[in-house]
């Protein structure tokens, strides 16, 4: 068994070499790991490697064949790159792109709109501040963009997923 696995952007080839009960010999990019691995709770693995104890939690990601994985202190985004996933990936457009509509997943209130129609906005700039679930959140732009339309005003009450700002 062998799989290509993407972790935080870089990919590794993972192979199962041998298995004996909980004990696995697995190679990650040709480096061998002897681990004692057991699923203790749903999505939680106890892994012993060189007698170090790791409690690893796997949460399914938003997309199929992806995980968010927590080890002791770190959190990783992981994707399984099988043939299908690779095919889909090649077809897919740039992941870093913005959606053309900015909206809040939660109902809330517009604290402040920081742009107006026709503005040119730089990557990383905040365009709107929304208060939802009693907290204020800043919505930023990922790439340099132009504002096509602003659909709300300061103080407006908004529904979840209501379009707020249309960008280029």
């Amino acid at each position: 068994m062998s799989l290509e696995i993407n972790i935080d952007g870089s990919s590794s080839v993972v192979k199962l070499i041998t298995q004996d009960g909980n004990n696995y010999k697995i190679s990650v990019n040709d480096e061998d790991y002897d681990v004692d691995l057991v699923e203790v709770e749903k999505g939680v693995y106890s892994i012993l490697y060189n007698n170090k104890s790791y409690n690893v939690e796997l949460t399914p990601g938003n997309k199929p064949k992806t995980y968010t994985i927590n080890t002791l202190y770190n959190s990783y985004d992981i994707g399984i790159l099988d043939a299908e996933a690779k095919y889909m990936k090649n077809r897919k457009s740039d992941d870093l792109d913005d959606d053309s509509t900015i909206s809040s997943p939660m109902p809330g209130k517009v604290v402040r709109v920081l742009v107006k129609k026709g503005d040119s906005v730089k990557a990383g700039e905040t365009v709107i501040i929304i208060s939802a679930m009693k907290m204020e959140s800043e919505y930023k732009i990922k790439k340099d963009r132009k504002i096509i339309e602003v659909l709300v005003n300061d103080g407006d009450t908004i529904d979840g997923n209501q379009p707020l700002i249309i960008i280029e």
Partner: protein
């Protein structure tokens, strides 16, 4: 004696209040919106009443519905918790009219302290120090220059009708006074249709320190010492501790006396909090009074040893305070961390969702006040607070070590939380040394937003876990298919079977 209490709230605070009710042999009544049918407070209560749709302005904020539930259940008192209707004068009044005890202050006290200008004037009359400045609008540019000279730079110009930072200007240099005044006035006019502006001394990088008070209906008032609440993000408290690392016994006594005087001036009854700002020279000024139980009340409970909700209920019941000021002292050190469903890597955006798995930190010196459980979906309608983690230590060092231990063991899957961010605060030198003010998070943002280092193997370990989990899931899907069915289902499962052959 009160026999049945309706808790007009939800989440961790509803459960926290119900726990005390149970200890006192009082029945608890939950109210819930559509989104909260499965919420723990409904499950924990003795009784539960539906009060409307999910948005809080159609349920938890509808006085009529709450009163209706109280009457149906025969509750003889209502505890409002914090937020929602807890500082609503009309609600306090309405309860009184209906003959239901409101576990909180009178509408008069709420109104008086709710209006910032009235509160400021009340406090000045009671010789409680307030931030130097004026409470009346500046009458002219000459008046402004005179007043600001008296108050001393830097000052903050504030719109009388202001809010949300609008019509506000910080003035640090004399030559900026008039231009700033004009800008503030015009902004205020544009925003609120009123150009009245007043002046307050600007306290840079202040500390936020508050005093817990208890006042009964017989005129007795005590304070339960301070809480240090300077670790804030966007004016929201993140971590609180008591005693304050800044405080001296002398200032503590003095401020305690001031807090008691302030409470008396507000004609207050119940549990309340006097908030102060303090500069580095321990000069302190009344900021506002919170006329309810605070989120961070547990740290006071832990070091003083008093169940504040129990005292609230006793006071509402007309009983005299059980404790005198001289009975009280602070024992050890307590810290609270607020755990929100939020994404620290994405500007602390709320992160509602379903709790897939939770491991709560336990053991010596740890109190955990929460309400979520595995499979529970945090609704999008309310405050994303998941729980409060409170630790106690014999001294501040032990409390910090214990909080680190507790945060390390606290695991939640399914929603993002600020747990790792809080752990970093516990390791930040300014916090460890107790040398911080409300600028703490801003000042230390490089440390706080730094990525966690990995010793090298954890990436491989994570990869291996994903590998095995994926294989096991594939295997399960295969096993679920009855041998006879494989051919029929070839289309659906063929692709997955191919993968295992790679």
């Amino acid at each position: 004696m009160i026999k049945k209490v309706l808790i007009a709230n939800r989440g961790e605070i509803a459960i926290r209040i119900m726990r005390t009710c149970r200890e006192m042999g009082i029945l608890s009544v939950a109210v819930y919106s559509d989104a909260d049918r499965k919420s723990m407070h409904v499950r924990y209560a003795d009784e539960a009443y539906h009060i409307g749709p999910s948005p809080s302005n159609e349920s938890y904020l509808v006085i009529e519905n709450i009163i209706d539930a109280a009457k149906k259940s025969g509750a003889d008192a209502i505890h409002p918790g914090y937020g929602f209707l807890s500082e609503n004068a009309e609600f306090s009044d309405r309860c009184k009219e209906e003959g239901i005890k409101f576990i909180g202050p009178s509408s008069e006290s709420i109104s008086k302290m709710g209006d910032k200008i009235t509160a400021r004037r009340t406090m000045m009359a009671a010789n409680v120090p307030v931030v130097p400045g004026t409470t009346d609008p500046l009458t002219s540019e000459e008046d402004a220059l005179k007043v600001i000279k008296k108050v001393g730079l830097p000052v903050m110009l504030k719109a009388s009708s202001g809010g949300g930072g609008k019509g506000m200007r910080l003035v640090t240099k004399e030559e900026d006074i008039l231009p700033s005044l004009r800008a503030a006035k015009s902004e205020s006019m544009a925003s609120f249709g009123d150009d009245a502006v007043y002046v307050e001394k600007f306290i840079s990088s202040p500390h936020h320190i508050e005093f817990q008070v208890l006042a009964d209906s017989h005129g007795n008032v005590i304070h339960l010492f301070e809480r240090e609440c300077s670790v804030q993000r966007r004016h929201q408290k993140v971590i609180e501790e008591t005693p304050s690392p800044l405080m001296t016994p002398k200032v503590r006594n003095e401020m305690g006396e001031v807090a008691v005087a302030a409470t008396k001036a507000a004609n207050y009854q119940g549990a309340g909090t006097i908030e102060f700002i303090m500069d580095d020279n321990l000069n302190y000024y009344f900021l506002e009074m919170n006329t309810r139980l605070q989120v961070e009340h547990p740290i006071t409970e832990r070091v003083v040893g008093i169940d504040l909700v129990k005292e609230q209920i006793r006071i509402a019941d007309g009983q005299k305070l059980k404790y005198k000021q001289e009975d009280l002292s602070q024992n050890g050190h307590a810290i609270e961390c607020r755990i929100y469903a939020e994404d620290p890597d994405n500007n602390f955006m709320p992160s509602p969702g379903t709790i897939l798995h939770i491991t709560e930190p336990l053991g010596l010196g740890v109190r955990h006040d929460g309400y979520v459980y595995e499979g529970y979906e945090i609704p999008i309608y309310y405050d994303p607070l998941i729980s409060k983690l409170i630790v106690w230590g014999i001294d501040r060092d032990e409390a910090i070590q214990r909080m680190k231990r507790a945060l390390f063991a606290y695991k939640i899957m399914g929603v993002k939380t600020g747990i790792k961010f809080l752990e970093k605060i516990m390791n930040t030198p300014d916090f460890v040394e107790g040398k911080y003010n409300t600028q703490f998070i801003e000042k230390n943002k490089d440390i706080l937003m730094e990525e966690n280092k990995c010793d090298g193997d954890c990436k491989a370990i994570a990869t291996i876990a994903a590998f095995i989990d994926y294989q096991n899931r594939l295997k399960k899907v295969k096993d679920r298919i009855h041998p006879d069915d494989v051919n029929n289902n070839w289309k659906a499962f063929g692709r997955k079977r191919n993968i295992t052959r790679l």
